[in-house]
């Protein structure tokens, strides 16, 4: 929403402020100014000049030498403009002045362009005649300006006049961010009302004179109106204006339209645009002669129907689009755009003005489906006050009379159901002060309300809200009005009183936090990736067609196929990030991510899916399968999973190397997996021939077992005994099986064990490998005797024999 400050000032007599003051004050009272632009920026010493004489340049074919009367004197100006003629009135920048831009309309320099007297091929020139682009404007809003040449005044101006004033450029245009609840502020009147209240100045909406009262001919003689879908059209006001005289609008109106970025076209069109700006009520004008049967019918379109809008485009409709029809056909898409078949032309005789209230959401959805958003639909979609429709119509008709562009017939045809009435809200000044933490007096509050046209019923202690303030519905809304005009900045600063609550992380977040810290300590950096990804991920991960991971939730309106499914497996984010790093030649990259996967209970979704937090690791560079394993075990230890996890290669994860993958179990439950990335998957992620290691911890399983309780166990008093076990082991036996025997057979005496050598090769017979363990025992009650140690070693060896293991001689 853009408005001219001059227009606002015209509605608030006595408003004196700088652009900056206006901007700051309006923003602080709730009408946020996004920015403002002075139309006369960098325009200095520019006057109206009359061309008195034109002579050819003695030395240049394309230049002419003009004598220009600029009021106080006549100056000589050399120009290359093709369109100058004696007697023309043109804008002239005098020597030492400034213009905003070049004549090509390109980007304007920040400091403008200084104009000095000079010498063009031997002839002195004391200034420059200006094109509209040089004045910082464009042919968009000055359609009378020539495409390539000097702007020629058609306005009533005289040599020496201030040209900038004459063009209406002594003004500042403000752009506001109007919030969706303040539809009344999508109008000059609405913004001016806010401005008046902000600056504590009187404001009065323009009083509209009645029109057409002398006429005997009535609108209802020509037209009848029927609304078939009252939910979607709560009011339709039609009024006929006859004997139209199309012409130019007066300069004051054109200036305001231009400042608002609207191109003046002719008096009739300009009036509808002007009223839309002023009242925030879009209007439409039909050629009355094209309306068949003297009937306006508001009804839905039919599916698949085609309709040509007045911009010449053919639009496809459906049965949820509201149409304006006559006795035979559609003539406009309600609230969006009129039809080619009823548009006004230069030889128009009679018009039907429409000022209606259409359902906001319906207009919004229709405009979206048809793919046609207009100024009109943009306003209707906010939801307008039906009471505004008649006022706007009356204003338009008043302007028709003022501009003498037609004969307004007596009375409108106005069809509507019950109109909204003024709401009453209890006025509770004490409660308001308590709510805001303020001490604003009752009188002061009432003063704010008065400026906002909110009345007060002292007997009932109720405020009465005008219908254009649809946003005011209850106590809190009234409190906000007080806050806005008292000033948010003046409200005190306090801290909430004491209902002490303990501040803390949820247990889940605490576990995650410790896991994160541990991962970072171990060299992994935290990554973040999107929750939605491409379904192609499943192929990259080599998942078979019936893999459960492929049962993923699809977004119905994704940004594109690449962001269309909610991840069911967390690897893609980390792998894509590793790939990015790999292709940028970053060395030794270790990443982890904490993020959800989304597991639907059924598809399509009937209830919310399960969101499972996954801690995903991935790296290339230093490390291998076993270092990855070490990282996982370190994390388990830090979150209090003190037991020994077990590992099993089930070979069921297609995205991992079949011989280098394992599920991690704890207490018999799978809590995650790790492995080397399958070389085909590595290729799919553009990391050919690189060994990538990944791991995933299923956080809910960890959180349910996590425990930050630590009990001191006492430092052993008696010495430990260590024995080495050097074994020849069948290749099929996994170290995990040996571990299990050692743990089970040693019982309480086992303190720790570790493998210190694994060997396969020449010295070992085919089908076997050599593994060496170091096992440490300790009895907490006494020093262990040789016999005790030998006895437990014997138990272990017996157990190992069962696995086909013997001691190395």
């Amino acid at each position: 929403m853009n408005t001219s400050l001059n227009w606002i000032k015209a509605l608030i007599p006595g408003l004196e402020c700088t652009d900056r003051e206006y901007s700051d004050a309006m923003t602080l009272s709730g009408t946020k100014v996004e920015g403002y632009e002075r139309l006369d920026k960098n325009l200095e010493k520019i006057v109206v000049g009359e061309i008195k004489e034109i002579k050819p340049h003695p030395d240049a074919d394309k230049l002419v030498v003009c004598q220009v009367d600029v009021g106080a004197e006549t100056v000589q100006i050399v120009t290359g403009a093709p369109n100058v003629a004696v007697g023309q009135l043109v804008p002239v920048v005098l020597s030492g002045g400034k213009v905003a831009g070049g004549h090509d309309g390109g980007p304007m320099p920040e400091e403008g362009i200084e104009i000095k007297s000079g010498n063009l091929r031997g002839v002195d020139s004391y200034g420059m005649m200006c094109s509209i682009e040089e004045l910082g404007s464009s042919r968009d809003v000055f359609p009378d300006a020539p495409e390539n040449g000097i702007y020629i005044f058609s306005q009533d101006v005289h040599p020496g006049d201030d040209a900038i004033e004459a063009l209406g450029l002594k003004d500042t245009v403000f752009e506001y961010e109007i919030t969706s609840n303040r539809v009344d502020c999508y109008s000059v009147i609405g913004v001016a009302r806010e401005a008046a209240a902000t600056f504590r100045l009187p404001f009065k909406a323009p009083e509209i004179k009645e029109t057409g009262t002398e006429e005997t001919e009535k609108t209802s003689d020509h037209i009848s109106i029927e609304i078939r879908d009252k939910d979607l059209c709560s009011r339709y006001v039609g009024r006929v204006v006859r004997d139209i005289r199309i012409g130019e609008s007066p300069e004051w109106m054109k200036k305001r339209l231009r400042a608002s970025g609207i191109r003046p076209i002719n008096n009739l069109v300009d009036i509808t645009n002007y009223v839309m700006l002023e009242y925030g009520q879009p209007m439409h004008a039909f050629d009355l002669s094209k309306i068949a049967g003297g009937k306006i019918i508001v009804r839905m379109a039919h599916d698949g129907e085609k309709f040509q809008t007045l911009d010449g485009q053919e639009r496809e409709l459906d049965s949820e689009v509201l149409m304006i029809c006559d006795g035979e056909k559609e003539i406009a898409i309600a609230g969006i755009m009129g039809g080619e078949n009823s548009k006004i032309t230069d030889d128009i005789k009679d018009v039907l003005f429409e000022s209606a209230t259409f359902n906001g959401p319906n207009v919004r959805k229709s405009a979206k489906r048809i793919g046609l958003r207009t100024d009109s639909s943009g306003i209707f979609e906010k939801g307008l006050d039906p009471n505004n429709a008649l006022e706007a119509m009356n204003r338009a008709c008043e302007l028709v009379e003022e501009l003498k562009c037609g004969r307004v017939l007596n009375g409108a045809v106005d069809v509507h159901d019950a109109l909204p009435e003024k709401k009453r809200i209890p006025f509770e000044p004490e409660r308001i002060n308590e709510y805001l933490g303020t001490a604003v007096s009752e009188e002061e509050m009432l003063e704010y309300f008065g400026r906002l046209e909110i009345e007060y019923d002292e007997k009932a202690k109720e405020v009465i809200v005008p219908t254009f303030r649809q946003d005011l519905a209850g106590f809190a809304d009234i409190a906000e009005e007080v806050a806005r005009f008292y000033g948010y900045d003046k409200i005190p600063v306090t801290l909430p009183g004491s209902s002490a609550t303990p501040g803390k992380l949820s247990f889940k977040l605490r576990v995650e936090s410790v896991a994160r810290e541990t991962a970072e300590f171990l060299g992994f950096s935290q990554g973040m990736s999107y929750s939605f990804e491409s379904p192609k991920v499943f192929d990259k991960l080599l998942l078979p067609g019936d893999a459960p991971e492929r049962k993923a939730i699809r977004i119905s309106n994704p940004l594109g196929e690449d962001f269309s499914v909610m991840r069911t497996i967390s690897l893609n984010g980390i792998l894509s990030s590793l790939s990015t790093n790999y292709n940028r030649r970053n060395k030794n990259v270790h990443l982890y991510e904490l993020g959800n996967i989304y597991l639907p209970k059924a598809l399509p979704l009937t209830e919310l899916p399960e969101e499972r937090m996954q801690m995903t690791f991935g790296f290339y560079g230093e490390g291998d399968f076993y270092s990855m394993k070490g990282v996982l075990e370190e994390i388990l230890k830090h979150i209090g999973l003190k037991g020994r996890p077990t590992y099993e290669n089930t070979g069921k994860r297609p995205y991992l190397h079949p011989g280098r993958q394992a599920d991690i179990s704890y207490d018999g439950t799978v809590i995650g997996y790790l492995g080397e990335l399958h070389p085909e998957t590595a290729i799919a992620y553009e990391m050919k021939d690189e060994r990538i290691y990944v791991a995933v911890l299923d956080m809910p399983e960890l959180v349910s077992r996590a425990d930050f309780d630590i009990k001191y166990e006492g430092i052993a008093k008696y010495p430990s005994v260590t024995r080495d076990l050097s074994m020849v082991v069948p290749k099929t036996v996994m170290a995990g099986q040996i571990d299990a025997v050692i743990v089970q057979r040693s019982g309480k005496l086992l303190e720790s064990f570790h493998i210190f050598d694994v060997y396969e090769g020449d010295q070992i017979e085919e089908g076997y490998k050599s593994i060496a363990y170091s096992v440490t025992f300790r009895n907490n009650e006494k020093t262990m005797s040789d016999e005790e140690v030998s006895s437990v070693m014997k138990k272990i060896l017996n157990g190992l024999e069962g696995l086909g293991i013997r001691l190395r001689s």
Binding site: I491, S525, F532
Partner: protein
């Protein structure tokens, strides 16, 4: 005997002083104190000494022995110390050579910002909780005073799964979940992912993070909201930070506000960073709309509350002067290592 002892002692002390190396010193020790050493020989000869003289002679021998031993030890320490010094003299290193650093992980800038925010609000008695990312329309919109057809629904371009299930566009839904639990008062913040269908560019991402805050209690006012958030801003951006509250509109709060902080680059003078205004927009907030309280089963006449929502990426981008939002999701190690 006495002379002999004196002679042995003086010679030994002289030899010790002249020894110079550990080897020579040892030779002296053996020659004097060894099994076949001179002093040992004297001791052995004690049996020939008259019994009445023995204690006296014994004491003299011990005295000499002690003196020689002390001299030996002292000389030994001196020599060893000299050896160490010579060793160190050869061991000088270039202390300006680079450090050998273990590979350490780095925290994501979003996480650092979040940790900061959590730290501040935990200190103010807020509990950190979470809500679902895939959410019912009711919690994301309707219970927040955004009924079907409300224009705000279109403003937050929503990703839908079904007509009723969507990717949450804001963390505000956790307010409703918390209030529905019925445990009052409430002081909570809720961080998490949110989603809006914005194309990826330097300032937009279809997935980003917010932190929602909610306080519900019997006596709460707009001035408390101002105080709390001012405290937060000063803690996050520095004690000299000033805040400004501007009226705004959110369907679920009334009155609503946006909070700006004084530009932390120029201190409010106006610079390119703050586009000349001296202020930087940080968050949206307001008093919880009575209708929202009511819908979630909180007695709006007895209880009041305020809520706020902060964009985590916005804080991270501003605080760490990151100029392109896409960097946050690329996970380039050269980027992450800076945090």
């Amino acid at each position: 005997m006495k002379d002999k002892l004196k002679e042995i002692r003086e010679r030994a002390l002289k030899e010790i002083e002249e020894s110079g190396t550990a080897e020579k010193l040892n030779e002296v020790r053996v020659a004097v104190l060894g099994k076949k050493g001179e002093l040992t020989a004297v001791l052995k000869g004690m049996k020939d000494v008259d019994a009445s003289e023995r204690p006296k002679v014994g004491a003299m021998v011990n005295e000499a022995r002690e003196e020689i031993e002390n001299a030996l030890n002292e000389a030994k320490n001196k020599i060893e110390s000299k050896v160490r010094e010579m060793k160190m003299a050869k061991e000088t290193i270039d202390v300006t050579l680079p450090a050998i650093r273990p590979l350490t992980g780095h925290r994501h800038p979003n996480q650092i910002a979040l940790d900061e925010i959590e730290r501040i609000f935990i200190g103010l008695g807020y509990e950190v909780v979470e809500g679902p990312e895939i959410e019912k329309d009711y919690y994301n919109f309707e219970a927040l005073n955004i009924p079907a057809d409300h224009p705000a629904k279109d403003e937050q371009d929503t990703f839908y799964i079904t007509g009723d299930i969507l990717l949450r566009t804001q963390t505000s839904g956790t307010q409703v979940h918390e209030m529905e639990k019925g445990k009052l008062p409430i002081r909570m913040i809720s961080p998490g992912r949110v989603f809006r269908s914005d194309e990826v560019d330097a300032t937009h991402s279809p997935s980003f993070h917010q932190v929602e805050g909610l306080l519900i209690d019997e006596k709460v006012s707009f001035s408390d909201l101002k105080g709390t958030l001012q405290e937060f801003a000063k803690e996050l951006f520095g004690e000299e930070t000033r805040v400004k509250f501007r009226p705004h509109h959110f369907p679920f709060t009334e009155p609503s506000a946006e909070m700006d902080v004084s530009c932390f680059k120029c201190g409010g003078e106006g610079c390119r960073f703050c586009k000349g205004s001296g202020w930087i927009e940080i968050l949206g907030c307001g008093m919880v709309h009575p209708h929202v309280l009511e819908m979630s089963g909180v007695d709006h006449l007895k209880y009041k509350g305020f809520a706020f929502g902060v964009g985590l990426e916005r804080i991270a981008l501003l605080k760490y002067e990151i100029d392109d939002m896409r960097l946050l999701y690329e996970n380039d190690s050269r980027f992450l290592q800076q945090f």
